[in-house]
Amino acid sequence: MRKQMVTAVIAAVLITSLGAEENKAEIQKGIKMPYMAFPMKQGKGMYSTKGKCNMCHSWGYVLNQGPQSKAFWRKKVIKMIDVFQAPIKNEDIDEVVEYLYKNYGNGKEN
């Protein structure tokens, strides 16, 4: 019993001192970012879309735009190319837009 208590006290002291050093240590080491999986809906064009979008950002950034129209997704894809230099060739735009609309669409063309 007594031994257990002593151990607990030592552990508590260790934890406290770790806490005080924590901020400094973290700044010295920097941080490690976790990876989070945002599963994509299975469908035609999934792998092609994944490769193109995930070059720069997570799939979460896409699916958390909410369900959108075909025109919206087309505009977004073109913005990614024009503003953010996404490596999507002109001939591949339709495939990406179709995949997005089919799987993350709101049923409206416009």
Binding site: E26, I31, M33, M36, F38, H57, N64, F84
Partner: protein
């Protein structure tokens, strides 16, 4: 639709956690999606938060945190624009470079910022312009945030004005550009650069090196970020590394195309008739959020229920917060805190209820600022294409058990 029916429907939607699962019939504003679950994974220096993306990290603070007027650093929301964020910065080598229309370009280290300038402390709300975007229908583009893309912290730093004075502004100086260390994947791409008109510079704008008495967490902009009290967070540049003074308005994607609302009285438009002119979102409108209780919990009939939450605006100050338990027909004044944190901080409120009847109980909160501006009902909030500046009256629904 009758108001009562509307709220029933809104409550149903609020209860569903799936992103974008809005089945509202008409294009009416609702309450934002509520009670989304926090992720299983915690980000560095953070507790698990509602996670929309890991790259760039987009993390939302759960509602219950807003039962208190200061948001702890490890629960503070996170929003980055670019996927490449430094995960290691040595604060001893880091510096802010100031150039452009200045007498003498300078580099200011974090130590210099702390030692050579008068330290200023300010408690201020930091809120994303798209906070609660999920309330708007049709769904505007952008992350479908619930109401937790905000927080309030005590910031400590040096006045931007003093730092600029070190370099000395040239006569033609008119705009200040801010750039942090976040980077796009392709070097050709425009970075996340923001600009402030020199006319809008004031003493409360600081470059902060402390947040709630600690170094800023990496994800909130370690080692320094810009603090613009009263303004939405789009210009609160994180990991601030470059300040460039210009003589003319710079052309910037994130100024010219993002974070803008219609330039008209109601700041509104319709999808079929978009406003031709837009303006930056800038000053925050009056808003409030109930932190406790959260929707879906059970409370005991006849037992004290202390409603708690926060209210804020763009710096004019909160005059009153009112609570309604009858869908907005009658209102009772809540008790406000002493306001000593200043008019840019959360003003916390509390109000004691004694639920008399078993069944569903709706609790609404409405803030009014010192200018007399008050929050509209959720369905009265007008649409804009960016889904910005939502400030509908908040509502939670609890179950009273006998």
């Amino acid at each position: 639709m009758l108001r009562r029916d509307f709220f029933k429907q809104a409550a149903l939607i609020a209860g569903s956690a799936a992103v974008g699962s809005t089945t509202v019939d008409a294009d009416t504003t609702t309450h934002p999606v509520d009670n989304r679950k926090v992720a299983d994974i915690a980000f560095p220096q953070k507790r698990p938060l509602i996670t929309y993306s890991d790259r760039p990290p987009l993390l939302e603070t759960p509602r219950e945190v807003f039962a208190n007027p200061i948001t702890p650093n490890d629960l503070f929301f996170v929003r980055w624009h670019m996927p490449m964020i430094p995960t290691y910065i040595n604060p001893h080598y880091f510096s802010i470079k100031i150039d452009g229309e200045v007498e003498k370009p300078v580099k200011i280290t974090v130590d210099s910022l702390k030692d050579d300038f008068e330290p200023v402390e300010i408690t201020s709300v930091l809120q994303c312009g798209g906070n609660s975007r999920s309330a708007f229908h049709p769904t505007p583009g952008g992350i479908q945030w619930g109401p937790g893309a905000m927080g309030c912290a005590k910031w400590k730093g040096a006045r931007l004005k003093d730092v600029l004075a070190k370099a000395g502004l040239k006569k033609g100086a008119a705009w200040i550009k801010f750039h942090g260390l976040e980077k796009p994947v392709y070097t050709k791409t425009d970075g996340f650069v923001r600009a402030l008109e020199l006319d809008k510079l004031h003493d409360k704008i600081i470059i902060a090196y402390e947040m709630n008495g600690e170094a800023l967490p990496y994800l909130n902009g370690f080692p320094v970020r810009l603090i613009l009290p009263g303004f939405y967070s789009d210009s609160w540049v994180k990991m601030l590394s470059n300040i460039t003074v210009t003589g003319t308005k710079p052309k910037l994607h994130f100024m010219d195309h993002a974070y803008r609302v219609p330039d008209n009285e109601c700041e509104c438009e319709t999808p079929d008739n978009l406003a031709a002119k837009t303006k930056p979102i800038e000053e925050m409108n009056v808003n409030s959020l109930i932190g406790y209780p959260t929707s879906g919990i059970q409370v005991k009939q006849g037992a004290k229920l202390i409603v708690r939450g926060v209210a804020f605006d763009g710096g004019h100050g909160i005059a009153k917060v009112e609570i309604s338990t009858d869908g907005g027909t009658s209102w009772q004044k809540a008790t406000l805190d002493d306001g000593t944190q200043g008019s840019y901080a959360y003003r916390s409120f509390r109000h004691t209820l004694m639920p008399k009847q078993a069944g569903t109980l709706s609790i609404m909160a409405r803030a009014t600022n010192t200018k007399g501006e008050t929050q509209p009902f959720a369905e009265e909030v007008k649409w804009n294409r960016g889904g910005y500046k939502y400030n509908g009256i908040d509502e939670v629904t609890v179950e009273v058990i006998s």
